[in-house]
């Protein structure tokens, strides 16, 4: 991924910055310009909101057939996490044996290296998740 392309999203990827609709209160991640529920009513009323980083596993998979840049990590766990604010996101789940992952388990965000551009390129950082507590 090109450096500017990754850099443009670092607020969300580093700090879990989403948005809250000023009209209905629905939280989105990443931040949206328009609320999917309120549509045009919400334009100009979307406020920034930092997620608290805690949530629960809704579903998960263990990836064995990985893209080139994730080859060294396989097998690794990916999960869809429902954050306590109600919004869902997709992330890697660390520090847990794949057999011990359960739907409903509590997890929290942690700041990690996501990948890098080739062997000497810039490093991408962002959120991954691990068991809470």
């Amino acid at each position: 991924m090109a450096i500017p392309r990754f850099w443009r999203e670092i607020q969300s990827r580093y700090n879990l910055i989403g948005s809250k609709c000023g009209s209905c209160g629905k939280v989105d991640f990443p931040a949206r310009a328009v609320c999917p529920d309120c549509g045009r009513k919400s334009v100009g009323k979307m406020q920034r909101l930092k997620l608290n980083g805690k949530g629960s596993v809704v579903t998960y998979t263990v990836i064995h057939d990985a893209p080139a840049q994730f080859e060294m990590m396989k097998p690794y766990v990916m999960a869809i996490v429902e954050m306590d604010e109600g919004v869902r996101l997709t992330s890697q789940l660390l520090d847990v044996h794949p057999d011990d992952v359960k739907i409903g388990m509590r997890v929290q965000a942690t700041f990690r290296k996501l990948g890098q551009e080739g062997e000497a390129g810039v490093i991408h950082y962002g959120y991954k998740f691990r068991p809470a507590g």
């Binding site: 809704v58 579903t59 998960y60 990836i63 064995h64 893209p67 990916m78 997709t90 890697q92 996501l114």
Partner: protein, 389 residues
Amino acid sequence: MREVAVIGVGQTEFGELWDRSFRDLGIEAGLKAIQDANVRSEDIDAVYIGNMSAGKFIDQEHVSALVADYAGLADMHLPTVRIEGGGACGAIALLQARLAIMSGLHDIVIVGGAEKMTDVGDVQAAEILSSTADQEWESVFGATFAGLYAMMARRHMHEYGTTREHMASVAVKNHKNGALNPEAQFQKEITMDTVLNSPWVAEPLGLFDCAPLSDGAAALVLCSMEKARKFTDAPIRIAGSGQASDFLAVHDRRDLTTMDATVVAGKRAFAEAKCEPKDVQVAEVHDNFTITEILAIEDLRFVEKGKGGPATMDGWTALNGKISVNPSGGLKARGQPVGATGVAQAVEIVRQLRGQAGKRQVVGATRGLTHTLGGTGATAVVHLFERGS
């Protein structure tokens, strides 16, 4: 608005076709369809091509003009349109071509679908496929295309008690059908053990839960119903079409075990065709993974929500079962040249309704359906076809 019929179909064999180029495939399918319809090049008003990613697979964009050119139509200076919509692009091309005829603008339109996927390596091909998911908020974190479907499968298992055996029975059935299809990539039956013991791709999906990478092309000739009788005694009417979209990323969807785009596209198509799921005898549905066919037959209301797995295992969707699903072998066994998918599904349904499906013929089929997905379900297209009376 005018009625539209399919008057010609053509398809290449599907598979790892090292000796065939993108143009070879597109032209073979197109010429077969034109011959089948018995139209002349001067009868053709426009060409619509479904292609997912020739730019990434073979470094060639502008494939709409390319295909018309090499099909010998350059001198006709036809309008040519290439449609992109992930795996649904062929089905969208069919829908757009239909609209062009319905509107009265055109009388005869060629619809093609083609993909050449094996000129890149397997890992690169998988990454290209996953570019139809959300690159910024799914792929960048390590979610693969199979992984996203695997998470839907896991949730379906959790909510409805679906098992790996249920999913495996989709692959077993579709390989059994593919064995009867001389154009299929895999013309070989497999056992449930083969599926269950295949190496993991993304748990709970193994290698045999996944459709292959393929080369291939398919084509249709569409014609206004009023002119169709000039070319054929057996026009197949397109009775209804529906297209719908949804959130791009799986995690944003209302329900991880229902594809709302399929539900809505299906309702739109059935409403236009003024019929119900029970009136359909044969369906070609999107089975890029085994779980996808289970979701499709539920979301199209062929079976009750949550019962797709047991219904498949019990043979409801087998050839000449309660409803014959994927008699061609589906994406799983017929093969998955992405851009060709929606068009190849229509080719199969037309053959079934004409009674030209050979050993895999669905007895007494009068109404058929195609269901095609883009990405992980952010686009769905449903078409309904009827044998002309």
